[in-house]
Symmetry: C2
């Protein structure tokens, strides 16, 4: 079973790389140093890519030597700021990480999926992110969800799963200033994805906090 | 009552410019020839702007000489193509017209609104646009709706109305190949917005076909 984890150098992506069953594993990230260290530790293949570039994403898939059974898109960024204070650089970074990167991964990744292959994309629950300062984050995650709805119609037979965790304790919150109280660990989300991959595919995976 | 119509050289925007009560009217569009002709005909002030540029949108609002009572964002484009055939140019054009232009209009337009001023944005009903080839269109309209949800929290006291017409007979459909049977006229949507502006503000204006 060949797997590619995109956004593997932190948060849910890194937890997933660590939790994934031992098999052919490719890890993609932008930070070369952290990526190489993690890939060495996990005996995985590092694929450096900046998700802001279609060309990087195309090259990443072109370099694969096996059809993929699983692709997990775990990249994401928040960079909160009010709409009236929106800055082009933050807007571009949020949209590239949360939407456009995922869109090019669909374009170039779908042809590389093995029969029965699946793709996972980490989304956001609207009720948790419709909040001041989260305009670009909430909008880009809404866009991702709708794009998956349309892509399922275009690529019948492929399972595209939108993962909807509650708030998760990841480095993303360092951009916000604090991690929400009771945030789920990235490892719990990773375990939920591993468990889902072993079952029948579904369009949406709501990860629930069962500890409480 | 001062009004700015963005995307005024065709479709719903042009119909709205024609239907709007006689008063101070600014019209914005990208096609200078059509814009100037329409502005001359309607005794309005033309403001040429390409919505793909934040700088154009900022300059457009900076050039206004009155606070605005109403802003209508009627720009939009579809350029359908499957996600697996997505091309950077079409993706950029759809997103600039449907989302990023609207986002910069919120940023620069909100400070220019008069007391009691309102903004209208033409959206799309999810059930009508979740269709093959409409990935970028559906996703960008979903993003717009969510951005308005967040911006309402940030700019309390401002009425931001998402207009949700059924399929409308506009030039947008020339990109698709055919206008859907029974499509509503752009003039009917324009009249619904004029009528809504005279009433109490609301976050969503569903334009219904009452002829059937």
């Amino acid at each position: 079973m060949a797997t590619l984890v995109i956004g593997a150098t932190g948060g849910i992506g890194e937890a997933l790389a660590r939790a994934w069953p031992e098999e052919a594993l490719w890890l993609s990230g932008r930070n070369e140093e952290r990526l190489d260290a993690l890939a060495t530790e996990l005996k995985a293949t590092p694929l450096r890519a900046d998700l802001g570039y279609e060309s990087h994403i195309r090259a990443m898939f072109d370099s694969l030597t096996l059809p993929l059974d699983t692709v997990v898109y775990a990249a994401g960024t928040a960079l909160p700021e009010p709409v009236q204070g929106a800055t082009p650089d933050a807007v571009r970074r949020v949209w590239n990480a949360n939407y456009f990167g995922a869109m090019w991964v669909l374009k170039y990744g779908l042809p590389h999926l093995a029969d029965g292959g699946r793709m996972y994309f980490v989304g956001a629950r609207p009720e948790l992110v419709t909040a001041r300062g989260f305009g670009q984050y909430a909008a880009s995650k809404a866009a991702l969800a709708r794009l998956l709805d349309v892509t399922r119609l275009e690529a019948r037979g492929r399972t595209l799963t939108l993962v909807l965790p509650p708030a998760v304790d990841t480095p993303l919150w360092t951009q916000v200033g604090r991690t929400p109280k009771g945030a789920m660990s990235a490892g719990t989300v990773a375990q939920a994805i591993v468990a889902d991959r072993a079952g029948a595919g579904q369009p949406e995976l709501r990860v629930e906090d069962t500890a409480g």
